[in-house]
């Protein structure tokens, strides 16, 4: 295995982008990443695309080749592979791309993530997202995504005394960060009482505990680390990559408040990077619901199990806290175009490690972590990045 570095990033605005199509979005993100990297299109060896359900959202499958073609690479005839793992599609596509370069199969790879979710009505989007759950054991009985996370939240409150206010503070923090991110879907800080008073989606989770439906795309360019300085003065090295799976339906797990996929993916990534959780300067975690961020910081080892709510309350994870989490606004405020999410997390950490995060810049950030979860935790991908 050889070292791999990130040399370019590109992110579109996230939101209800009615005037941009699936192929417009991914081409825009890809072009931005390629321009940022300084490579020429002819140098690209392969493409990887994370997308959960282009088929159901926009009626388009076979998106690997489509993205290569609509990005202007038809004449290169390069391999282009679409990767799917529900909400972890982007993170997993990144890992596939990383492994292809680490194994010396490819030298330069562009990896993108995309979802165009607002072309269907909201009820249909809810059904599509629920396809990431177990169709026979969960969705068949009427469980939706918010429903699963609501059950986990209820159990977490019961077992560890996590409060409604602590859940709400995750949304408040992430909206405050989103307000500083020009590409975020919601660039607006919100007060705690708005989160608590918002209409209930699945008790105890209200509307402002849930990430939105979004359109958007993100892309990054990676290459063999020894080539990186040829293109950029600030390459970011991938020092850890971990992926793990867990029992598919939530009800079969020994403990529903622990995502074993996160625990195991993180363990592998930390081991490869030869670091511990305390060495992480900042993290982008998968806050599809407020409770998910609390689970994440526990399962990643930043705090002990059950103390996630308190950590939020004590403002450890705010922008000026000891471990800033979701400086981008997270899925909650930045938006959650499923396939794009994992790649946009990488892009945010790269911006932070390069010192380009402007008003949301974390001081002296050296090592950052990304955490991308598929559905209710059956897949998790963790990456650890370090400035070279």
């Amino acid at each position: 295995m050889r070292d791999v570095a990130i040399i370019g990033i590109g992110v579109t605005k996230f939101g209800e982008l009615w005037d941009k199509s699936f192929r417009n979005l991914i081409a825009e993100a890809g072009a931005k990443a390629i321009i940022d990297s300084g490579i020429s299109g002819n140098e690209i060896d392969a493409l990887y695309i994370g997308s959960m359900s282009a088929g159901r959202f926009v009626g388009q499958e076979h998106v690997g080749a489509l993205v290569a073609d609509s990005s202007g690479f038809t004449h290169l005839h390069i391999p282009s592979t679409r990767v799917e793992a529900a909400c972890a599609s982007g993170g997993l596509a990144f890992r596939q791309a990383y492994m292809s370069v680490a194994s010396a199969t490819h030298d330069i790879v562009v990896v993108g993530g995309i979802e165009k979710m607002t072309d269907v009505v909201e009820s249909e989007a809810t059904n599509i997202l629920a396809m990431g759950l177990d169709q026979e054991w969960e969705s068949f009985f009427g469980v939706t995504f918010p429903g699963v996370y609501a059950m986990i939240a209820t159990k977490h409150m019961h077992d560890y005394g996590t409060t409604r206010e602590q859940l709400a503070q995750v949304a408040v923090k992430n909206h405050a960060n989103g307000a500083l991110n020009p590409n975020a879907q919601f660039k607006k800080a919100i007060p705690l009482e708005n989160v608590i008073k918002a209409p209930i989606i699945a008790s105890p989770l209200g509307m402002l505990d849930c990430s939105p439906l979004s359109d958007g795309a993100a892309a990054v360019v990676i290459c063999a680390a020894d080539l990186a300085k040829k293109y950029t003065q600030k390459p970011i090295k991938i020092i850890g990559s971990g992926q793990a799976s867990d029992m598919f339906p939530v009800h079969g797990r020994e403990k529903i408040c622990t995502f074993q996929s996160t625990v195991h993916a993180a363990k592998k990534a930390y081991k490869q990077a030869n670091i511990e959780p305390k060495d992480i300067d900042l993290a982008e975690v998968h806050d599809c619901f407020t409770i998910a961020e609390i689970l994440a910081i526990e399962d990643l080892g930043f705090v002990k199990k059950g103390e996630g709510g308190k950590a939020i309350e004590n403002k450890i994870t705010t922008l000026d806290g000891s471990l800033p989490v979701n400086t981008s606004g997270g899925l909650k405020a930045k938006g959650h175009p499923i396939g794009a999410t994992g790649i946009s997390q990488i892009a945010e950490i790269v911006m932070q490690l390069r010192g380009q995060a402007d008003k949301r810049q974390v001081k002296d950030a050296k090592i950052g972590l990304t955490h991308n979860v598929g559905a209710s935790g059956a897949t998790c991908v963790v990456h650890i990045l370090e400035a070279m």
């Binding site: 209800e16 009615w18 005037d19 607002t118 009505v121 909201e122 008073k197 209409p199």
Partner: protein, 349 residues
């Protein structure tokens, strides 16, 4: 240009009202949030014996009662609505018979979501201008539908207005009109379906706001006017907030909007909305007052009108029919249970 315009007008709004707060309570929503968010206090509800035909007839009769036009001189009737009582069989023929305008006239029903009535005005203007007819009757009227629990339920109401268009006895000259039309599916009702569907927030910026601003700017550019040239402005009013917001985007003031903004008190009368608003303005307008109107119909399009009130408005027998303010004041509240009965929301075998 010839002095083509409005010869007379009449509006009709059913007497029954339901408060938005009652609808909100039924669905477990916070009444203050709903009422404040939409800017709708209450909406009109058609009684069991009221439909687009009866509302159109009431409005047409009021329009005729105010002027000295012989109904036999009306050469065309166009009724715009998205809730015509019959899928096949016109509403316009019922209106024609009711006001004594049959049989030597042209009749058709129009549908263009909430702007079919203003499209009818444009057709009548063209027929009058080309001397094919002496007077035309343009009506916009609706008993709009909303699925129980849908956000539309707070707004969808009933009402309509009728305008006699001609070039004699003109009380308000229509100086110019233009339209802005695209295929934008923001709101629709499929054949055979009881309730419309809509694209949520998509009905806002790419639909309502884009079409109204583009159409309004196009008309003002064409005739060289600016917002400050007008005493009154009327926009389509799907809720109480959009008209004021679009007015601000174009440079009109809330004061210019106020007289024609009725949605807070009667809801969205769909094809009637901008036309009842215009009737409310004509109720108080004085000679030389200038009025700007832009309707909006989902699907989507807008019609803009530049109107100047003439001296003849003083000769109109306004008091032969109720003013819009009187129609609004004449009300009787019903609760949600009664509403479900009147709006045919109950199911039994």
């Amino acid at each position: 240009m010839e002095n083509i315009g409005i010869v007379s007008y009449g509006a009709y709004v059913p007497r029954l009202r339901i408060k938005s707060s009652d609808i909100a309570k039924t669905w477990g929503k916070d009444p203050a949030t709903i009422t404040g968010g939409l800017g709708i206090i209450e909406k009109s509800v058609p009684a069991l014996d009221q439909d687009v035909a009866t509302i159109s007839v009431e409005a047409a009769r009021y329009a005729i009662a105010r002027c000295n036009v012989n109904p036999q001189e009306i050469g065309a009737i166009y009724v715009g609505s998205e809730s015509h009582p019959y899928a096949v069989k016109p509403t316009g023929t019922i209106v024609g018979e009711a006001i004594g305008a049959t049989p030597n006239l042209m009749v058709a029903d129009y549908e263009f979501a909430c702007k079919a009535g203003t499209a009818a005005i444009q057709t009548c203007m063209a027929l009058v201008k080309s001397n094919i007819i002496k007077y035309g009757l343009a009506i916009g009227s609706d008993t709009s539908q909303a699925a129980p629990g849908d956000a539309l339920e707070y707004a969808a109401s009933a009402g309509g207005a009728a305008f006699v268009i001609g070039k004699e006895k003109v009380i308000a000259t229509i100086n110019e009109t233009c339209s802005f039309t695209t295929d934008t599916p923001d709101f629709w009702r499929r054949e055979g379906r009881k309730y419309p569907a809509h694209g949520g927030r998509f009905t806002g910026s790419p639909a309502y706001f884009r079409h109204i601003t583009e159409c309004s700017i196009r008309l003002m550019d064409k005739i060289g006017t600016k917002p400050t040239d007008y005493n009154y402005v009327v926009f389509h009013q799907p809720n109480g907030k959009f008209p004021t917001r679009v007015a601000g985007m174009l440079g009109f003031t809330p004061e210019q909007v106020k007289q024609g903004l009725l949605c807070p008190y009667i809801g969205n009368t769909y094809s009637g909305a901008s036309m009842v608003g215009l009737a409310s303005v004509l109720d108080v307008a004085k000679p030389k007052d200038r009025i700007f109107v832009t309707s909006y119909g989902s699907g989507a399009g807008s019609d803009s009108f530049d109107i100047t009130v003439t001296e003849k408005i003083n000769e109109l027998h306004k008091n032969n029919a109720p003013l819009v303010s009187q129609l609004i004041a004449n009300k009787e509240y019903i609760d949600y249970a009664t509403y479900t009965k009147y709006r045919d929301l109950l199911y039994w075998e």
